[in-house]
């Protein structure tokens, strides 16, 4: 990529920031979590046969997919909340904005960079789970799980967007806490909404209805238990979840850019 092109094309600038964010994450040894994950999966593959009475394949899927999500959420939260604040703290943000880079491009580039890191992480972990399943002699689940793995990535992409949004106006510690709470509420909102129907209180029902639609509905991306039972998400489900993630991320990033654009770095 030549320098003049980079300057002229906003898309190239975003790609450049994303690439740098990815490289920085690698330098920060974010992918070291893969070592822990590999140890976990290898232990599962070797030990679960005796513990699960022949159900080791489904248990490997359950442990593996949940570990992918948990590791991914930790990366999304703890790296995500530092993406913007670190640049401000180290004052590298001045160097960046002294060049022809818009604040929106900076946010989107940072976001895509972390998403790329998460994608690599999720792909390697997914491959690890597939290999463990092959090791225990299962031939179908190593392929079946990839629908659920993709949905986990979409969930992580939303969590990252939430983390960046909070970090655009709050301290890293508070942003991490708030993002974690959104992650929890995002998973519970559908169940709370169902629960509210039985409570009979209109106010509660209204509040939970608002939470259901305002908070990210992360239950839409939960397909781990189903995958362990050899179920495959339909095209409509994957397509709907992808579109939902796309739209929700666009909203979150728009708000983030709006807040970040007004921020004074002095």
């Amino acid at each position: 990529m030549s320098e003049p092109n980079l300057i002229r094309d906003p898309f190239n600038r975003i790609i450049a920031i994303a690439g740098n964010t990815f490289r920085e994450a690698i330098r920060d040894r974010v992918l070291y979590n893969l070592i822990v994950f590999v140890l976990l999966i290898v232990a599962c593959a070797i030990l679960l046969g005796d513990l699960t009475n022949g159900q080791e394949a489904r248990t490997i899927v359950n442990i593996g997919l949940n570990a992918i999500l948990i590791f991914g959420v930790f990366i999304a939260i703890f790296v995500g909340v530092g993406l913007v604040s670190k640049e401000i703290e180290k004052r590298t943000v001045y160097a960046i904005f002294s060049k022809p880079v818009r604040r929106g491009e900076f946010i989107v580039g940072k976001y895509l960079g972390l998403c790329l890191t998460l994608l690599v992480n999720v792909l390697i972990m997914g491959a690890g789970v597939s290999l463990a399943l092959l090791f225990v002699g299962n031939r179908s689940l190593p392929i079946i799980i990839w629908g659920a793995v993709f949905l986990i990535f979409l969930e992580l992409a939303i969590t990252t967007a939430v983390a960046i949004l909070f970090s655009s106006f709050s301290s890293p510690a508070l942003s991490a806490l708030l993002t974690f709470l959104v992650f929890i509420i995002g998973h519970l909102s559908a169940s709370l909404r169902e629960l509210s129907v039985g409570l009979g209180s209109n106010v509660t029902t209204f509040i939970l209805e608002v939470i259901y639609y305002v908070m990210p509905n992360l239950a839409l991306f939960s397909f781990r238990t189903e995958a362990a039972n050899s179920m495959v998400p339909t095209g409509a489900m994957i397509g709907g979840a992808f579109a939902y993630a796309l739209v929700y991320n666009a909203i979150l990033l728009t708000i983030t850019v709006a807040i970040f654009s007004r921020r004074n770095f002095k």
Binding site: T52, G54, R58, N66, S191, N229
Partner: protein, 309 residues
Amino acid sequence: MPSNRKVSVLTAILIVTTPLVYILSNFTSANRVTLSEAYEDSDLDLQGRRLKGFALGSEGLLADWYWMRSLQYIGDKLVKNEMETINIEDLQPLNPRLLYPLLDNATDLDSKFIGAYSYGAVVLPAIDPSLAVKLAEKGIANNPESWRLYQYLGYIHWRNKDYELASATYERGSYIAGAPSFMREMAAAMKNKGGSRNTARLMYQQIFDDAQDEQSRRNAELRLMQLAALDELDVINSIVRSFQEKSGRCPTSLKEILAQLSAKSPPGGIEFHMNAAPELTDPTGVPYLLNQNTCGAVIDAAKSRIPPN
């Protein structure tokens, strides 16, 4: 403090404290207040159906947790029991009252967990047949497309000697797309000769071939061995009787009738089992005993893995 001296002091501290960790760890462990023996039978704190939807999408993982607990629960009961033999047909003396709640929780959290229904169908009838039926019916309600669950329910009814209901269950299962032809065969066999040994053999062979968990497979294998032993004993005892009629006495040991046995074999073309002695053995390799009081060959219940009834 000079550097060398500092290193020596630190090394000395490490040498003294490291064994202390070992000693203190063992001391604390030995003096820990232990839970009462009844703890393992404490009622479950959580109900799977209430937990569902509030586990951040990890219901399957929790179901696996309850599943493993149910296996360990029964395993612990078997290991700790002081009975000389365990009758796999009747596990009530072990009082495994939490098995159903554990499997119920596992299947509440993951209603598609066929392995848990299968395990329940094999083990629960030996504890409480009504709970076995309840779990299998729950499985069918949650997985109406699974013919295998009808097979398990039919098996439970058959064990309860309710051959009509077993036949009807197999027949219902045989209509499900993908159900193998033996479901229809079993429906007919249940109706016509539900209590026969051949029906039992067919039943346990199917369970052995299709079992999704090791426990069910092992149980079915033992049952098949038991049926083979019963066939063998029928032939052996008929020869013992004819020996007694001809000689007017009971054989002193089964070795005395080995020559006559070589001319006969149990039904189904099965060969008799012999050890190096040579003695007639059951399918698990334990020699049959000759009861001089009844003048009949029997399984050595104290040594054989074959269940007593």
